[in-house]
């Protein structure tokens, strides 16, 4: 671990990293646009220029070099001394900020980036309040560059992060700089819109408001949003995300740095995969079938009704004719609570891992980002829990085959899938079950035969952990309250198991850890400070 001196302060840093990264890691706020730890270094914005001590050509004596060096392109060396707090560096930053603001429109009040914009922050911290520019501003056009993204090139500072992203991380290379001099602008190649499956990241990468997300455009001001740490349910890799929300619901999803899974990026599936939360058709009250069809039931009565119906259908005995289908969309805590309760009620009940949605094949990008074909977050976690309980277990296809033969009198099916999942075969097999309890987000073909229908909550309305495809256990927090009339899955299972009070995933996880030691510890990636984007 080399030690370097920044502004007179001794700093221990990792070997081979740029000085800028060492300074950012040490909590210093150094202005920079083009540098991003996930991309190659181009040293084009010149904002991170610093003074460095170099040996004098004749006397070999160490002294401050008259030239300024880019901190992002200078690797750390043992004993080196640099400074950012000198008048020379500050003057250079002031000049650069004036240059960046020459043609920049003064439209912060209507710009979606305002509040999290680096140009705004740096202009305030390192720039001056007035502009000496008297000529007409150069105004570059606004462009629609893809199905999800807009480019307002008048706001662009040409850091080229987006270009490096599409060249290095996705390898698709749709973007480039066109024209020359002050008419320099970013554009996509003709007939090549920005539509790769990771393209949403360019909006987060953009340090100013040049690249904008169409689905978030004009929707909210960023300072009105609250942020919750979550894990995306879009695929089995468990990409960590921030959910930005306020009282009107979710507004956008941003990547959360995770050194072991998705680094700085997320796939578009994860980014835009929250619209099902606001779909009109969502179930919003529990219903129980009596002589005149499915009728609304109160949540308080539900556990009692459920137990009664189970008893009449299964009679006394071990409950070998009962199947519990656990969905890979459930969190580990929910699956454990429900499986434990059902096994206590009916020790011979069959535990089944439900339908695992798989779309296409895994896709790996040049720098190693993987989009999984398995479009559910917790297949492995539910498998672990089923394995832990042992006894009668079955696979989804075997269960369907046995159900068609009428082996099961009762079945509790947990769904929670974001897309439609009930095929004709599934509906036909489950129609043979006498007492069908369906716990799902949306109405489906199962409603025709379901005896009890329970609405479930989406992942943003619940808390718990997902175990990703590599066995990494990551917690997610509740962002928004459940839809009116819906009880969060964990809370319902908690009450079903006879507990009272508020369901907290952490509390349940501690109970689980007694039986399943791997749940004693969860992986939470380190927080990256705001200035070190």
């Amino acid at each position: 671990m080399p030690t370097i001196i920044i502004d007179g302060q001794e700093i221990k840093c990792r070997k081979g990293i740029p000085v800028l990264q060492a300074a950012l890691d040490a909590g210093m706020n150094i202005p920079h646009y083009c540098y991003h730890p996930g991309l190659s270094v181009v040293a084009s914005c010149r904002l991170c220029l610093m003074e460095m001590k170099m040996p004098h050509p004749q006397t070999r004596e160490l002294g401050w070099d008259p030239k300024l060096f880019p901190a992002c392109q200078t690797p750390v060396k043992r004993g080196m001394e640099v400074r950012f707090n000198s008048e020379k560096v500050r003057e250079s930053q002031r000049h650069l900020m004036e240059y960046y603001l020459l043609n920049h429109p003064l439209d912060c009040p209507v710009c979606d980036k305002a509040g999290e914009c680096n140009l705004q922050d740096y202009a305030e911290q390192f720039g001056s309040a007035t502009s000496r520019m008297v000529e007409q501003k150069q105004k570059n056009p606004k462009k629609d560059i893809g199905p999800h993204t807009l480019l307002y090139s008048d706001r662009c500072v040409l850091c080229k992060r987006c270009i490096r992203f599409v060249a290095e991380i996705t390898g698709t290379g749709e973007m480039a700089v066109v024209n020359r001099g002050s008419r320099n602008e970013i554009d996509v190649f003709p007939g090549m819109p920005l539509d790769n499956p990771l393209q949403g990241n360019v909006v987060d990468l953009c340090p100013v408001g040049a690249l904008l997300d169409k689905s978030f455009l004009y929707k909210q001001r960023v300072w009105l949003l609250r942020t919750t740490k979550s894990v995306s349910p879009a695929d089995s890799r468990g990409q960590t995300i921030f959910i930005d929300h306020n009282e009107n619901g979710i507004h956008r999803i941003r990547p959360r740095y995770n050194e072991r899974v998705n680094e700085w990026w997320i796939s578009d599936e994860a980014r835009f995969g929250w619209h099902h939360v606001q779909r009109e058709e969502r179930l919003d009250q529990p219903r129980v079938r009596n002589s005149d069809g499915l009728r609304p039931e109160r949540w308080e009565e539900l556990p009692q009704v459920l137990r009664q119906r189970m008893q009449t259908t299964l009679g006394e005995g071990g409950g070998s004719e009962l199947a519990l289908i656990l969905s890979p969309m459930m969190s580990c805590e929910e699956a454990w609570l429900l499986a434990k309760h059902i096994r206590e009620m009916a020790p011979e009940a069959t535990l089944v891992l439900g339908h695992v949605p798989i779309v296409g094949e895994d896709r790996t990008f040049p720098k190693g980002f993987v989009i999984k074909a398995e479009k559910c977050p917790n297949r492995r976690g539910v498998e672990t829990i089923i394995e832990h309980f042992g006894g009668n277990t079955s696979t989804w296809s075997d269960f369907l085959a046995q159900a068609v033969e009428g082996k099961f009198k009762a079945a509790c099916v947990v769904g929670g899938y974001t897309e439609e999942w009930v095929t004709k075969e599934v509906a036909a097999a489950l129609a043979k079950v006498e007492l069908l309890v369906v716990h799902d987000l949306f109405p489906s073909a199962l409603d025709e035969t379901a005896a009890i229908q329970i609405p479930s909550a989406t992942w943003a309305e619940r808390e718990g952990t997902f175990m990703n495809c590599d066995g990494l256990i990551q917690p997610f927090e509740r962002a928004i309250p459940p839809l009116e009339g819906v009880k969060a899955d964990g809370q319902f299972f908690y009450e079903l198991a006879g507990e009272t009070g508020l369901y907290r995933a952490k509390k349940v996880r501690e109970m689980m850890a007694a039986e399943l030691p791997q749940f004693a510890e969860v992986f939470i990636p380190c927080d990256v400070p705001r200035h070190a984007h």
Binding site: P105, L106, D107, P109, V110, K219, R221, L224
Partner: protein, 182 residues
Amino acid sequence: MRDEDVIELREPELSAAERLYLPQIWDGVKCTVRHMFSIKLRNETVRQYPEDSRDTRGEVRVANYRGVHRLNKDPDGRVACVACLMCATACPVNCIHIEAGESPWPDREKYPVKFDIDELRCIYCGMCEEACPVDAIELTPQHDLVGRTRDEMIFDKEKLLHIYEETKALKPRKNPAITGYG
């Protein structure tokens, strides 16, 4: 939901005197009776409205009186608001609800699709007027607003623009600050 978001509430225990309720009732009646029979207090606090109002006494200063809001129009007759939500951010009681959308005009990016002010919730502090970068929202000298339902007192964009038409003779729009390509 973080740990700090969870608040456990318990009903406070009432003492024997509080459970009786009579001491509180006695205190209330005492206050009412005191005001009923004190002529000095009555003359100090009672005004004969509307015969004797601030308007007739000439106490309303048009330039800075903080009454009902209005939404100004620009010289082309369009709503001047650019839907930046600065007023909603500055509002200490969250009574301004704006839904922004892409503007139909080429010289402007955003405009308010919906602009509702809950006049019952508003405390008429004038922060919205201070925050507005284009001087679109202003408080007028109008103070006698009435309505029969709560819904009627939620003023929408049309109503706020209408108030501008009503009051622009009395209080013309100031020169707006420059934003955009200035």
